[in-house]
Structure formats: structure tokens, C-alpha cells
Amino acid sequence: EDQVTQSPEALRLQEGESSSLNCSYTVSGLRGLFWYRQDPGKGPEFLFTLYSAGEEKEKERLKATLTKKESFLHITAPKPEDSATYLCAVRRDSGYALNFGKGTSLLVTP
């Protein structure tokens, strides 16, 4: 059975304090690992798709990396506007659905 586990559940950072969020997964035939950002009361907003181990993608202060067992979302010098819940999801090669983790709630304080 596919499993996606995100850690930590919650993370509090000071502005400028870099850190990483983890997404560990087990899936039969990975056909994409996805990172989303979700603000309270809104739908998930797409950030990155990673397809194969070793792949990395960056966007502003965020960088996503992928290995055969886990993905990291690195946040460099975060700002308060980076506060949100970050969701990780995987898709297996035989389906359309995304299997989501429960998310990491990030709070960045000034």
C-alpha cells in the first residue's frame, strides 16, 4: 500500500532561519512526487514536480530534492509570508490519483 509520511507535523522558524521539511514515501512505480503549498481557507497551490531520484527544482527560497525513498523541501532564509501548510503527494505509475501526506504546518515569525 502506498504511504506518504511528512515530518515534522509542525515547524516554527524565526525569519531567516533555514530548515528542511521531509516527505518519505513508499509507492509502487513512482510517476511523480509533488509539493504543494496551502494557505488557510484556500486550495493547494502547486510548487514542484519531481520525477526521478537526483532531481532538484528551485523557486525563490524553496528547493525540492528527491531520492528513492524521500523528498526534502529546503527553505532558505524564510520570511513570514512563507508561513503555510506544505503538502507532499505521490502518483504511482498505474493510476491517476495523488496520494497525499498529512502536511507540515510552517510558521515563520519576524
Binding site: R31, F34, K42, P44, F46, T49, L87, L98
Partner: protein
């Protein structure tokens, strides 16, 4: 924005009443999905559609039905709402890229409360 609207955005209803949620897209994407999001569970797939009149069940489909008569609209119906269906419902769309079903983009959500 991904060109997805959901209606209504908020709804309060009573147990046993039928409820229909609508998802409308302007992107002409082939694939559409309905998810529910509950505390402690994350997002879970209810039903999805891979074309007009082509739908299939997801992980948590019991008590839900869907219909897609036009590319742009995907309806989710709760035939007889129960309190366990109180949740936030998200619609998503995707298309294929180089033969692979690509990234899903999400709508703003519908908050449903069943009393």
C-alpha cells in the same frame, strides 16, 4: 489561478438531504478530480473523470456519485448527506504531458457542513 471555480463555496445542510457541488474549469483539461480534506487525514480522492461521461471511483467513494456531461463541468452529488460527510471538498484538474498525466491544479474548495 488555474481557471477552476467551485460552487457553492460554503453550504450548511441537514442529514438526509441531497447536495450537489459543482466544479467548473476554463482550461479544457481532460482530467478532473474530487477530493475531500479532513483534519488528520490529508486529501483523499473521492472520484475522478478521464473524459466526458468517463468516471471512476477513488479511495473514499461510498455515499458519493459524480457526473460529467461537458468537459468543463464535474458534479459531485451526496445523495443523502450524513454528518461524516462534513468536510472541505476540492476539485482538481490535470492534462497529459508527453503521454503522462501531469500536475493537478486545485480549486478554492467548498466547505460543507452536515447537521
Amino acid at each position: 489561478d488555474a481557471g477552476i471555480t467551485q460552487s457553492p463555496r460554503h453550504k450548511v445542510t441537514e442529514t438526509g438531504t441531497p447536495v450537489t457541488l459543482r466544479c467548473h474549469q476554463t482550461e479544457n483539461h481532460r482530467y478532473m478530480y474530487w477530493y475531500r480534506q479532513d483534519p488528520g487525514h490529508g486529501l483523499r480522492l473521492i472520484h475522478y473523470s478521464y473524459g466526458v461521461k468517463d468516471t471512476d471511483k477513488g479511495e473514499v467513494s461510498d455515499g458519493y456519485s459524480v457526473s460529467r456531461s461537458k468537459t468543463e463541468d464535474f458534479l459531485l452529488t451526496l445523495e443523502s448527506a450524513t454528518s461524516s460527510q462534513t468536510s472541505v471538498y476540492f476539485c482538481a484538474i490535470s492534462e497529459t504531458s508527453r503521454g503522462v498525466v501531469d500536475t493537478q491544479y486545485f480549486g478554492p474548495g467548498t466547505r460543507l457542513t452536515v447537521l
